[in-house]
Symmetry: C2
Subunit: 324 residues, 2 copies
């Protein structure tokens, strides 16, 4: 397995040149006024397939031996990673299988199928996604594409951090704090590694969904944890069951702060992105922004970067953000 470090992220950036969207780093005077801080939003919902996951999947598939790639790839995913693997496989012209919980949003299932993936649904309450996936790997000779626990995936997501560093430099800003939604830890480990190499010292904040505060527990315990209880949540993009072992190794010495996002925080983030940035965010993608708004008192006059991803949300869920 390759070593995860800045060099691997730089390699990913060269490899992905022209393959991924260099998403804009947006700001809004009105949003800054609401938060009382200089807020820069990395609009990663504008990435291909609507989420950052496409970066990691493209880099991973580019590194497979052609013979393995041609046999096909498989992953499990609440949705955005599945779409990304399906789209990357489509780009490479190889088969893909996506294992998903039965209650994954319909838009995410449909999108995987649109890219040509075979979607295998399983019942979260009685089956384990790893077991379902392992059976298919063995029976079909597929290569597993981890959502986060892979140096190549982490490096692909880390290209976001390199871009943020470049974009902050263009406007002469340096971050006091960097906020990201976090579940397995692929986005956070990659992005924060790149930014710590390029942006000097800053506070790192991982935002977790209510009921899925795995990193809070893992960082306290000093080891990765896996949840047994998986409550239903609209923040599905950041509601995986496990802290990634490799992301944990990378993030443990960083000692990030953790915050819990409640549904109302996600809705607040969605409304702010709609009103001030003209971006569509799914609840899990808006959780970091909404939680920052809730916690704004700590950040008066500071420069804060927020990664917002993804934007794959059914209209009826989107509309709920304005329902009360």
């Amino acid at each position: 397995m390759q070593k995860f470090d800045l060099d691997l992220i730089l390699k990913a950036q060269r490899r992905l040149q022209g393959q991924v969207v260099r998403t804009p780093l947006l700001s809004s005077a009105m949003l800054n006024d609401i938060v009382g801080a200089d807020v820069y939003v990395k609009a990663e919902c504008l990435q291909k397939t609507g989420a950052f996951k496409f970066r990691g999947a493209m880099f991973k598939l580019s590194e497979l031996a052609p013979s393995d790639r041609n046999k096909g790839v498989i992953t499990y995913s609440a949705g955005n990673h599945g779409q990304a693997v399906a789209a990357a496989a489509h780009q490479w012209g190889c088969p893909s299988v996506v294992v998903m919980p039965e209650h994954a949003p319909k838009i995410k299932q449909d999108n995987c199928r649109w890219w040509g993936a075979e979607v295998v649904l399983y019942n979260k309450d009685v089956e384990d996604r790893e077991d379902v996936t392992q059976r298919l790997i063995e029976s079909r000779g597929l290569t597993f594409v981890s959502p986060f626990d892979d140096p190549l995936i982490m490096a692909g997501q880390g290209t976001i951090g390199l871009e943020i560093a470049e974009q902050l430099a263009e406007v002469g800003a340096s971050p006091h704090s960097v906020w990201l939604g976090c579940s397995g830890g692929g986005l956070a480990s990659g992005t924060l590694t790149a930014m710590r190499a390029k942006c000097g010292h800053f506070e790192s904040v991982l935002v977790e969904a209510e009921g899925y505060t795995k990193w809070q527990t893992a960082l306290q315990k000093g080891e990765p944890v896996k949840l047994q209880l998986l409550p239903k949540t609209l923040l599905d993009g950041i509601a995986g069951p496990a802290v990634g072992a490799l992301p944990f190794e990378v993030l443990k010495p960083v000692q990030p702060r953790t915050e819990v996002a409640y549904l109302e925080d996600a809705f607040q983030g969605m409304r702010a992105a709609f009103q001030y940035l003209k971006l569509v965010l799914e609840p899990g993608g808006a959780a970091a922004l909404g939680t920052l708004i809730r916690e704004k008192a700590r950040y008066e006059g500071k420069t804060v970067v927020v990664v917002c991803s993804g934007g794959n949300v059914d209209p009826d869920v989107f509309l709920q953000a304005w329902a009360n």
Copy 2:
């Protein structure tokens, strides 16, 4: 008055460097599949103040004599131009007045006030916006910032065309057709002038709101027209009463095709931008995209550029796109 030409647009681009967002040119494999063409969307709703209007306003104010600028600026606007002038005035630290119809969306009125502008409302049915504005110019010594009928405004908007040309070159594409929402003609005259200089030959399509098909009439008659009847419409961003005299001079030899956008077309564009591009568009900003989708049969296998701006829409109007 300055001459409007490519050189003035290039000057505007140099002047606006770092002052405006270089908005991304987005594409979506799914949208391409729906339309049956290669569609590139200039996501100008991500511009500061949520619409392209900020470009023209910033360039215009940068060219005013400081003594005039300090006395203040005034404009009339269905909203997006008003916000842009208010924001540009705020940037320059000078007073601004925005004359708006009473029924302009509340978000647009609020946004102008937020930027420090004085909002003067008038009754569309009994007053003329030019008369209301002229009285204030005379009584206060303000400088008028035209929404479109000014070479500097047209040149500012034209920087969109330069960016599109650069962005198309990056992906090795050249346009068969370019679609824009059109009312006064500032965006279309600027953007098409820049693109015709940089992108070779292509078809130009102006999309007008139902009940506001001024360009269709003007191009047939061979002279600018002004509407007497101003029906209520949700496509307020492209529902001004008049064809601009200068934009008409520029666009007449271009002989653009015109298309009428109905409310359902705008809603279709809003839904497509939401689903495939993760962008929030107001009805007038989505009209060109939605009408292209309606007329897709003409464009099979072609490369089509669509300018999408703006994104200033109240949530209750946005939600109507999914109401039926």
